[in-house]
Amino acid sequence: MKQTFYERIGEAVCRETLPNGLRINIVPKRDYAKSYAFFATRYGGMDTRFCLNGKWLDTPAGIAHYLEHKMFDTKEGNALQELAKNGAEPNAFTSNAITGYYFDSTTHFEENLEILLSFVSVPYFTEESVAKEQGIIGQEIRMIEDNPDWQIYTRMMKALYAASTARTSIAGTVESISHITAETLYDCHKAFYTPSNMVLTVVGNVDPVHVVDIARRVLPREGGPAIPRDYGTEPAQVAEKETKLAMEVSCPQFLTGFKCTPAEDGEGYMRQSLIGDMACDILLGDSSPLYLRLYDQGLINTSFGGAYEMMPGVAYLYAGGDSKDARAVTAEIQKEAKRLVEEGIDEDFYQRVRRASFGSNLRGLNSFENIAVSLSEGYFHGYDPFRFPQVFDTITKDDITAFLRENLTADRAVLSEIVPK
């Protein structure tokens, strides 16, 4: 087992790769009552088309999420209940590129870890149990369809992307999930839930040797083949410039998105992510000149914010919130990006944002979930997230302006709006 110390952030990570290909990360935290385990597969809402045993399979939208729900079923009953009996709080999520299962607990950690590894690696579905889940997930889909934040984001993604499966809603639709059968679920599990496609991250007051032993004992001996995936061939231009929906909401909301150039895996991926975050702060963060001006003019309120996101083959910067005049705000964002590119970024302001950005990355290390998710994503994309202070040191003002020049242009922008009925 290899242990790495990170002095600038006061952390350490023990890493081990098992013969079956499973990566294990352990972050010791002595003074905490709880321990946290996160078991993730590189498989999410966008992995709908892939090649298994030489055959290309097209699976229904929402299947990774459906599988996540069904994984809790075991031959003996339900793993959720098994874990909750020990006071653990288990849960799971499906993102575009990852499905993760986790729990935290203050007692019986090793026993709980065994349960987690076992139910995620051993599928157990029947046609009946699969059919029953349609009701629960159908209700979940209806619930999110009533949610304006979800609608506005999903519609923005569909406007940004014409072909990439990044535009697929993670939960699918009531219609798409009706095509899911026990057989397709078994296929997907077989393809993606192999130790070599997964990573286990544990944060807390644990014995690293025990963690590795448990994983070795519980999980299959063999890894699996790499699974080719097809995310679609995405053109450079956006799919549609504008989209609008009327809903039962109190005031108009908007999101504007910019289709950015995706990054290659490796440390450059993290560097790109830090540059994108900082560019976002400098352009429209809550201490930026633009934010302050728009806030004073009453064009935005505290709901306004932005972020830079990356997933396989895809990167985008987006911003929005409530506004009575979405068009004016989006025009101002594009104008400000142009101004920053032409006039350069004020040095004092840049130094401030750097400091604040360092603080906010450090703050993220208070959260076990955040640590576990970022170490897992880092592993899947070939970088070490705990090296952020070092990577930060290499970023200059020119990187930020270059990013803005390339990505924040009118032809890469889309606008998604929700207006009151």
Binding site: D31, L80, A84, T106, G135, Q139, M143, S250, S357, R363
Partner: protein
């Protein structure tokens, strides 16, 4: 059981101290070295009243716009950025029948600032300025700040409807506790917010900071002496006179027959909320009873209403410890209203009759114990817990609550749950044309 020993192993023993710094000013101090950040909170506690609720909610938002030394958001942001992205957020919370308004500051711990700069003192100073030294014009708040934050407040009140689950939960409480302070929502109503005027609000501000109890909270690596010194200096100009007592929540009157409320909206999923009164004050027994009923993923509601009958994506219950009521929240298809209603009542009855397996009891107990044991791992949870305790005149620590939960017997749970009865049903459904 080995659980007690296990949870104590290697964990920092944390001693909480609550001291009075001045008349009506208390500091809750929790030393901690394990976090990357320190947290400092300043909260005014004041009884929930229809006539002051919206004004009090508006005040911290206006104060957050500027101080005498940093008169606008730009200057404030620059100061915070230079403190390594320290955050000072304003908060408006309801705790029992009191309203807590103020600021929560979070900043990176001294041991991680690149130049070992100390951040506690400058952050405390800014916090003090935000409370005591707002930028003013002609003896009142800057008109532009007042107007734009008033608009934001009204928007925020209106936007509660955007999340139908939150909306249904808050409508249930409004209906169930109509006429009681507990039925008032933390921001007040749109009407109350619209009536706010600059001059009156400035007077209300003077009242609030002079006469209400101020609760300070710190979690981080600094010594208590250092924290006290920083806060005494930061709040040295805080006026103090005729400090008002905090309100202790009154018991909810027992209903004669359940109140039924229906509302229509253009939605695809219905929301069924049910409110229950509890005639017992055995807190630990009700905490357990509620967890068994709908408080965890092993509860009767989760296992039956969701998993077994697939009636909904969520069905859960909350025990409002500070008011002594239980509320149930669920999302269902419109036509399943009666089915879901019957099933929820049937599950309550099952708990009341003691139709409980040993594992259900053990699981409910460990869910609660886990929550109390891990509270010390999150500064945000600690702050929220201790401010809630202080604001409602309660003194139990999480450790004490955990001990009570550990000791409560099945008989006590059944006795307490026997006093739980249906009070109000709220149903949010789709428009007729759709159904």
């Amino acid at each position: 059981m080995s659980s007690r020993m296990e949870s104590a192993k290697g964990v920092e023993h944390v001693e909480v101290t609550r001291t009075q710094l001045a008349e009506g000013v208390n500091l809750t101090y929790l030393p901690a070295r394990k976090f990357k950040t320190s947290l400092l909170s300043a909260q005014f506690v004041t009884p929930l009243r229809p006539e002051t609720v919206s004004g009090n909610a508006l005040l911290p938002a206006i104060l957050r716009r500027g101080t005498v030394s940093c008169p606008d958001l730009g200057a404030l942001s620059a100061r915070l950025d230079n403190l390594y992205g320290a955050r000072i957020d304003y908060t408006v919370r309801k705790k029992g029948e009191n309203q807590c308004v103020g600021f929560v500051a979070s900043f990176i711990d001294d041991s991680f600032t690149p130049g070992r700069e100390k951040l506690l003192e400058p952050v405390a100073e800014l916090l003090g300025e935000l409370v005591c030294d707002p930028v003013t014009q002609h003896g009142r708040f800057v008109p532009a700040y007042f107007e734009s934050e008033k608009t934001n407040l009204i928007d925020a009140i209106r936007s509660i409807v955007n999340d139908k689950r939150d909306y249904a939960d808050s409508r249930l409480l409004q209906e169930m506790c109509a006429g009681e302070p507990y039925g008032i929502s933390r921001l007040g109503s749109e009407k109350q917010a619209e009536r706010l005027q600059p001059q009156k609000l400035y007077a209300q501000y003077g009242q609030l900071i002079a006469t209400s109890q101020l609760e300070l909270f710190y979690s981080g690596s600094a010594s208590m002496e250092r924290v006290e010194r920083a806060l005494r200096s930061a709040f040295s100009t805080l006026p103090r006179e005729n400090i008002r007592e905090i309100a202790l929540a009154a018991d909810h009157p027992k209903p004669t027959e359940p109140k039924m409320v229906e509302e229509e909206m253009d939605v695809t999923q219905g929301k069924l909320g049910m409110g229950f009164t509890c005639g017992s004050d055995d807190t630990a027994a009700l905490l357990m009873g509620n967890t068994l009923f709908g408080g965890s993923s092993n509860s009767k509601l989760f296992l039956n209403v969701r998993e077994k009958l697939s009636l909904c994506y969520f069905a859960s219950s909350v025990y409002h410890r500070q008011k002594g009521i239980i509320t149930v929240s669920s999302g269902i298809e419109f036509e399943n209203y009666q089915k879901a209603y019957d099933e929820i009542m049937r599950q309550l009855e099952a708990v009341q009759k003691g139709e409980l397996e040993d594992w259900e009891l053990e699981s409910a107990r460990s869910v609660l114990l886990n929550a109390y044991a891990s509270m010390g791992d999150s500064q945000g949870k600690l702050e929220n817990f201790y401010i809630g305790q202080a604001a409602t005149g309660q003194e139990e620590t999480p450790e004490l609550l955990a001990r009570q939960v550990r000791e409560v017997s099945l008989q006590r749970i059944l006795d307490a749950m026997a006093t739980v009865s249906l009070d109000t049903v709220y149903f949010l459904k789709g428009k007729e044309a759709q159904a």
